[in-house]
Symmetry: none
Subunit: 456 residues, 2 copies
């Protein structure tokens, strides 16, 4: 089936596609606050109707939380599942928005035309890129390019509580050959990207207890063990002088980049100094001898996300506290086993707790890294397709953050994922004045048409 | 003037004296938090009115912080200045109190009747012991036993910022022959004590700043320096393996006990294991080779009184924080110089701050240790008077806590101090469920009547 008329149709239909996106953006589908529950349902229904209008069999399927939109359409190989989410982040602080977050508009800016509004980039604008690509294909060829399942979630911004049970209960229906996830970004303005490495996350909370109550540091100071001192020693010992994490066995399953991927990353021209400079830093804090890109994409980390002990409010209190707590997370890569690392970390901490203190742990989740099956030829085909649309060739990149859906597709549905998206670093997702470049939207739709053509 | 009718009057008036103390305890005069400023003033006014009711010329004297209560009464030698403080510690963690901290009550416990409430022991209950002794003396003899000045501070629990300027500005008015400070404890349930060695206190707040805003630990984790990690290393390095403080020059001016005092302390039969056992501990945490009594009375320490950084509330947030803060205090002994130690500590911290981070310090007070002039015959007279009231003879003891006022009386007013108090180790001062034994209150009032009779 020919691609050129589909691209032409997309170009001609852009004003109408933009108007449709605006309609969806006007629905305040904030998932985390029950006050907007009816609006989440309304957004789901809007998407169902839109998918039905282009020939999908679609329904808003109830969950204990917000509905899942599931749609089926088309025939023939490959069978692709497209994922996006229709819920959005809250808008506060509201006063920092320069227009109503749910009254979207096109705005001219020095960097081009943008679609301004909550959800424009994360993720309504992105999910509409593939729906508009389907629409154009259907209009030109009378049918969808292949068998397509669509799954649009309404709880991504509120911890996805219904996702795992829904995937488990509907595994047979949802399993496809490959999942296409549209919730990531371009590498930069001109360089499209397929995210092929996502770090995993292990969250631990460590509480050291010393005396059985808070003590007066004058009365007991010197004689009684201070749990903050114990906790500080443990934290101080988590990295060695070279910036490596000291948990025994931590680097098991961590692999070096392939020479090809290393060359690709080097060619990206990522400016580590500028990246750090934007947040007031200049010295990379990770493992000595690694590039900043490696530190955030392909190397595992250990961070203390929070610490609290004793009197931390205004003023001073000479307390020798009973307890001190730290929240510690590990970003995981490659084949690192989160559960083995949890056990090793806990054993290492226990070994450092002095006779008089005790330690308690709380589990804040454990998910392994996702490394995509880039040897699937679909990855190279998609990369070439994207490279034809954008000024610079597409890159396989990593992502420091976690996108749990890819892990769930793998573990629950046995399905690999390809992550393609068109968001930009300056889209202000989760912040006031969120926007999506009109160019991201337009070229995003065209990109999906090209990828579909390359995969069928 | 006869003592017996004063003691009888004290016994008869105990219910009324207890009711007066309850009234004072109901005023939440927390000095460290500006939210309670009006209550501090209210506590000062209450004391002024009470002192006026027993014939003192009294006033709440303004300072840049909370007022000083100053009262003058009586005639004839000796001229004694009585000191106490009407401010109290914060109450958090509030949920560990089994009653409203500012709704005091008498409670029957297996160890006797206690007055439960914030400030019952530290220091409202204690300062009322001498005021009640004055009241009884005045009721029986129609006048006070000698010339008495009263100074009640409202900032003792928040570093006494106004104290030194106030003493300096009012030196001529406040200088007496001897200061009587009531803010210490019994040696044990049956053994009264005159505290002759007080540790000094240096309070420092250290804030490490890394990135210029809180970061997402997925996006920046590994590349951006985490200030909690920096702070933990600094804290972990403050003690060596033998439990000694590592700040350069820290032990300058620290002296060994005289053989006499060492023998006296050994004769007290202090049970270090029981002392630690009462708070759920068993291993002395101080310098290796020192007794527990030395650790808390005659050796200097370094404690972290509070630490806070990142997200420390319920749940988990993958933040890489911009800042981390610790409140650190040093207990000082002998001739240790607080200002030299502050400079040495700050230099040591600065040397450990990596290139990308910055450090800011806040000064939370600095006072040297106090060693009392026990060759003044008043000390032996007071010791004999106390020994008549209590089951066992009074002892000269040390104190781990800091009572900077004794040092200021010496350096600013040229006046020696005698520290007598009736608090007990299990009073839970600075902790939830603070109490004061009704027996401490009753025998404390009687003790002051006896000491006054012995000194006039």
């Amino acid at each position: 089936m020919s691609l050129a008329p589909v691209l032409a149709r997309i170009d001609a239909d852009l004003p109408a596609a933009t108007a449709r996106l605006m309609e969806l953006l006007r629905i305040p589908s904030i998932s985390t606050d029950p006050a907007w529950r009816a609006d989440c349902a309304r957004a789901a229904d809007w998407l169902v109707a839109d998918l039905q209008s282009i020939g999908f069999e679609a329904a808003a399927r109830p969950t204990p939380g917000h509905p899942m939109v599931v749609a089926h359409g088309g025939e023939g190989a490959p069978h692709l599942l497209f994922y996006g989410h229709y819920d959005v982040q809250p808008v506060d602080p509201r006063e920092l928005w320069h227009r109503d977050p749910f009254d979207p508009a096109l705005e001219e800016t020095p960097k081009g035309t943008v679609i301004r509004g909550r959800g424009a980039s994360d993720d309504k604008g992105q999910l509409m890129t593939f729906i508009e690509a389907f629409r154009a294909w259907k209009a030109v060829h009378g049918r969808l390019p292949c068998r397509i399942t669509v799954l649009l979630e309404g709880e991504e911004e509120s911890g996805s509580p219904s996702l795992v049970p829904f995937l488990e209960a509907n595994a047979a229906e949802l399993k496809a050959g490959l999942a296409m996830i549209c919730d990531t970004g371009l590498f930069d303005h001109d360089t499209p990207a397929i995210t092929t490495m996502l770090r995993g996350l292990l969250g631990e909370e460590v509480t050291i207890t010393g005396p059985d109550k808070d003590l007066h540091s004058g009365m007991y100071g010197g004689a009684a063990m201070n749990p903050i001192r114990v906790l500080a020693r443990i934290i101080a010992g988590l990295h060695d002088e070279a910036g490596r994490v000291t948990v025994p066995g931590f680097y098991d399953g961590v692999e070096e980049l392939s020479p090809e991927l290393r060359a690709q990353w080097e060619a990206l021209g990522f400016d580590g100094a500028a990246f750090l400079g934007e947040v007031g830093l200049s010295v990379p804090a990770g493992e000595r001898g690694r590039s900043v890109l490696e530190m955030i994409w392909s190397r595992p980390t250990c961070e203390v996300n929070g610490i609290l002990g004793g009197y931390a409010a205004e003023g001073f209190k000479t307390v020798l506290p009973a307890k001190a707590t730290a929240k510690i997370s590990f970003r995981l890569v490659g084949r690192q086993d989160p559960l083995k690392i949890r056990e090793s970390f806990r054993a290492m901490v226990r070994a450092q707790v002095p006779a008089d203190c005790s330690v308690a742990f709380r589990d804040h989740g454990a998910s392994p890294a996702s490394v995509m099956a880039t040897d699937d030829p679909a990855f190279d085909r998609a990369r070439r397709a994207l490279s034809e649309e954008w000024p610079r060739p597409a890159a396989f990149i990593g992502s420091g953050g976690s996108i749990p859906i890819a892990g769930y597709f793998k573990t629950i549905l046995g399905m690999d994922s390809m992550l393609i998206g068109f968001a930009k670093d300056d889209d202000l997702i989760h912040s006031p004045n969120e926007k999506y470049d009109l160019r991201s939207f337009h070229k995003g739709i065209r990109s999906w048409a090209r990828v579909l053509a390359a995969l069928v």
